[in-house]
Amino acid sequence: MMYKNWWKVLSVILVLFSVTGGLLIDVPALPILHESIRNLYYHVPMWFAMIIIYLVSVIYSIKYLGSGKENDDLITVESVNTGIIFGFLGLGTGMIWANFTWGAPWPNDPKLNGSAIATLMYLAYIILRGSIDEEQKRAKISAIYNIFAFPIMVVLIFVLPRLTDSLHPGNGGNPGFGAYDLDSNMRYVFYPAVLGWILVATWIMTIRFRIRIIENKNNQIQ
């Protein structure tokens, strides 16, 4: 059992470490940010987890178009569901942070708008699925929309903020976090947090996927 589940144990350890460490370990005293810099450990990993889990969904969409296996489609849809949860968590933590440092929960920032639109895109994916009854057709058409929308989401989240001014570090001429304020102490918490939350997202996805399979089995006519 252990050789299969080691990554779940690892994810629990990493997330517990980063949650407690994020509150306890020293952070550099910076103007404006002050102690709110600790939100870096909770806000940014949500986005990393979201991007990775959306990437998983696209990979499985491509796989589905090749193989036509129902399981690939189930992984896709559960990845999108999990990604949406992490997207909302990222927006929530970001809004709290922005309220304290930038003065408003929703400043006009291209990254905020971009991630909100990306969330809309995946909500549209869910609606598209709901509008088709036939299972194989639903799987195929939603896979096509998922693959079609992904490159544009990449442009939205990674390219557009770099073209316009953004409040976020690393965009619009602002230096990235690594440049001056992510000191080594913070790295020790930040990287485990990112890895831990990505693993947790994958874990949630696999659990939901297995629930789906069980449900499908129950719904079958004996």
Binding site: G114, A124, I127, A143, P151, I152, L156, V159
Partner: protein, 233 residues
């Protein structure tokens, strides 16, 4: 020898593809020319929307002027291009399936929609300029923005309309699916046309033009790859 043969085959396929695209495009234009339904309908839609906006705004500050123009074009484009797959009956689609490759069909639809949107947005721009009278400082760049805008709308909406038509010919679905996808492009286009309105130097806008072209190429490539899967039923 084999590679020569292969490249010959490839060339041959390309020729066949071009021929198919040509005749499909001819068919689209001919059908449209006979009824003039889509074109006239959308034209009237655009003109009356412009007029409604004029009556409700009278005069607008430049920022609103620009945004309003693109919103009018956005809705006109959704309405125009939503038809491109929905008007095809099931029997006719089956007939295409036997005579043409899926790539030829999607390319011909995209080219046709680009032509339609280009004419439409040119007329809309003209009407909008006459009614609203707003000085665009760099007209050349603004026209490039209009051109790029109509190309972007066509490439994105053609594929989305194909997807939406498979999911039960639903107008709401078309809007829901296409808005999140078009917003990034629309943001770039509005920024580009705002630059043109302010009369900024062309070199300021090279970034936006480059990214827009790049996105369009990616969208066309992805459409070509995905349409064959969508096509088979």
């Amino acid at each position: 020898m084999l590679s020569l043969y292969m490249s010959f085959c490839y060339l041959c396929n390309c020729m066949i593809l071009i021929k198919q695209v040509k005749s499909l495009l001819y068919k689209e234009i001919l059908l449209e020319w006979r009824s003039k339904y889509a074109f006239n309908g959308i034209l009237l839609y655009v003109i009356s929307t412009v007029f409604v906006c004029y009556l409700s705004f009278k005069t607008t500050p430049p920022l609103v002027w620009n945004a309003l123009f693109w919103i009018i074009l956005l809705f006109a484009a959704i309405n125009a291009i939503a038809k491109s797959f929905m008007q095809e009956s099931k029997g006719r689609l089956l007939y295409y399936y036997t005579i043409a490759s899926p790539q030829a069909i999607i390319i011909s639809k995209i080219i046709y929609n680009i032509l339609l949107m280009m004419i439409m947005s040119a007329i809309a721009f003209l009407a909008y300029q006459i009614v609203f009278q707003n000085a665009v400082a760099n007209l050349g760049l603004y026209l490039i923005a209009v051109l790029l805008g109509s190309i972007s709308f066509s490439t994105v909406f053609t594929m989305i309309s194909a997807i939406a038509s498979k999911a039960g010919n639903n107008g709401t679905l078309m809007a829901i699916l296409s808005f999140p996808v078009i917003i990034p492009l629309l943001m770039l286009i509005i920024k580009l046309s705002k630059n043109a309105m302010d009369g900024l130097d062309n070199s300021v806008s090279y970034d936006e033009i480059g990214v827009l072209c790049l996105i369009n190429i990616v969208v066309i490539a992805v459409s070509l790859l995905l349409f064959p899967y969508l096509w088979r039923d």
